[in-house]
């Protein structure tokens, strides 16, 4: 009670010009941040509206049915064989195949790297790996794509039957691209583990390896999975690097080493050559809408994992 009574007395002497200045700063700061936040929301909403209005035109204006769009296997927007066909299943398949495969390749590597730099050699391991990972994250995707085309594709062509181009090449390039995402999320999760957990395990006589495999990994699994899902979302949205190495044939391939397409690669390939407002262009926007929906699903999975982790 006493403190509450005293408070105005303490504030009173400060009132005057200085108080007014602070007050003005506070108002200015608040309104500035509010304007920024509002602008962000307006931009986001208008982009969603724009993509949706273009993307939904395929179904409402051009009369393509949602089933034909999502599950059709023939992509022939120019109508070379009679009626134009807008089946994007091969691209959805390509996108999922490359990103899941990339996550499968990258996850074990990333988890081991993060264990190495947090648990096994926290000193120089972290000093060495941290910059390497940051560097990997900073390389532009066109560089990855170019390396993929000059190194990965010829290698696959020589080792496996086929043209080298295809889902396997795309997945390998993507796996390198998502390594930093998964590694940094996993390393953060490992670093934030309470020390007591590890120490009590050691106190019980467990070796380091037993501690890592039986105590640490099960505890941070949801966080690591979050990293994997984020990595997959990045892989799903990557366009340029994949487009350069995947071959871009609009078919579901018979093998990992045969030309295929992803949603993003088709959009970048065709966007400039289509006339705005045509059914072909609208179909590309519908694919963009599908991509946005997929990112939404990825984010939902991440949120779900994080919630489980908290409990």
């Amino acid at each position: 009670m006493k403190t509450i009574d005293e408070r105005p007395v303490q504030v009173q002497p400060v009132r005057g010009t200085r108080w007014k200045k602070h007050h003005a700063e506070d108002v200015a700061g608040r309104s500035y941040t509010f304007i920024c936040a509002a602008l962000l929301i307006v931009i986001i909403l208008s982009i969603v509206y724009f993509v949706a209005s273009k993307g939904l035109a395929t179904f409402f204006r051009d009369g393509v049915s949602l089933g034909d769009f999502l599950f059709g296997t023939t992509w022939d927007p120019e109508g070379n064989n009679g009626e134009p066909m807008y089946g994007v299943l091969p691209f959805i398949f390509g996108s999922f195949a490359t990103s899941v495969l990339a996550a499968l390749i990258a996850s074990p590597l990333s988890i081991c790297a993060s264990l190495f730099m947090t648990e096994i050699v926290p000193g120089w391991g972290k000093k060495l790996l941290q910059p390497v990972i940051e560097l990997l994250a900073g390389i532009p995707s066109v560089v990855y794509g170019f390396i993929g085309l000059t190194v990965v594709v010829p290698f696959l062509r020589n080792v496996f039957p086929g043209q080298g181009i295809g889902i396997a090449a795309g997945a390998i390039v993507l796996s390198v691209m998502i390594l930093p995402t998964i590694t940094s999320v996993a390393a953060d999760a490992l670093a934030s583990l309470p020390r007591g957990l590890k120490e009590s395990s050691f106190a019980l006589g467990a070796t380091r390896w037993q501690t890592i495999s039986r105590v640490i990994l099960p505890t941070v699994l949801p966080s690591i999975l979050t990293g994997v899902v984020l990595g997959m979302a990045r892989a799903f949205g990557e366009a340029l690097a994949v487009q350069m190495v995947i071959g871009n044939a609009p078919h579901i391939p018979r093998s990992l080493f045969e030309s295929a397409s992803t949603l993003t690669s088709v959009i970048t390939l065709d966007m400039g050559n289509t006339v705005m407002g045509s059914a072909h262009s609208n179909a590309l926007w519908s694919m963009a809408l599908a991509l946005m929906f997929m990112t939404f699903v990825f984010v939902m999975i991440v949120r779900l994992l994080e919630r489980r982790h908290r409990i």
Partner: protein
Amino acid sequence: MIKMKKPLLMLCTLALVIMLAACGSKNTEDTSSASGAATDDKSTATELSGSILAVGSTALQPLVEQAAQKFMAESQYSKIQVQVQGGGSGTGLTQVAGGQADIGNSDVFAEEKLKDEAKDLVDHQVAVVAMAAVTNPDVGVDNLTKQQLVDIFTGKVTNWKEVGGKDEQIVIVNRPASSGTRKTFEKYALGTSTEDLKGSIQEESSGTVKKIVSESPGAIGYLALSYLDDKVKVLKYEGVEATVENVTSGKYPVWAYEHMYTKGEPKPEVKAFLDYIASDAIQNGDVVELGYIPVSKMEVKRDAEGNISK
């Protein structure tokens, strides 16, 4: 209920943020060209100043860019700003028809892409590009007939030995179905449009097509004459070599005009620029230097329906 709401709200916000990140890059092209076009209307016709925006075909872009540099360096045109952007033939035609750009660069006749809007567009043919079928050097074929090419690109023939080459699987390296280069090749070399076959490769740029054709055993593709060198084997078409002389005399049919479209008759400064590109200095200098063929050299003419006249 209240417990549910907060995470859900955060989830939505996060989803939106990621969506923004995912689709931000796609819109930059539209907005930048739109803002570029907005400045054009200020031009004053009397003393030839103002700015010109030319958008479209990436195959024509190098020529227009180089011509624009020289044009702006000329003293009488120094008040005119020429901006050249890529984006593809479809983008060029859409923007010039919609009035966002002054000039729409295109590899194909406007009638092939647009419907009613094509009537308003005025065609200015500035150069000719010829294309040749190319293969990986190891396939052992140096001439293909039209029918053999059709069989290859429609998937009827899948091995080089069926057209007189080695026993090797044919790998098709195509351009995207919507590309102007592919349209030209299909129209004038194959005479028919083709589907994308299973296992065929599609690449966006001529550079990548050349790289893949030169490296992949059994690969076949097609390139503009300016891209040809000894890394790839250039095929004869019906026994005719793909040379500038054969194109201009009309013996070799796989070529197309490069168009610069304007909406209606061009504004004076746009007309000055188009005349500049059509001038002998550019036609015999830069056009040849960049691997195109000057329109004036052509002994044959072709209309939008593909009819040839002398």
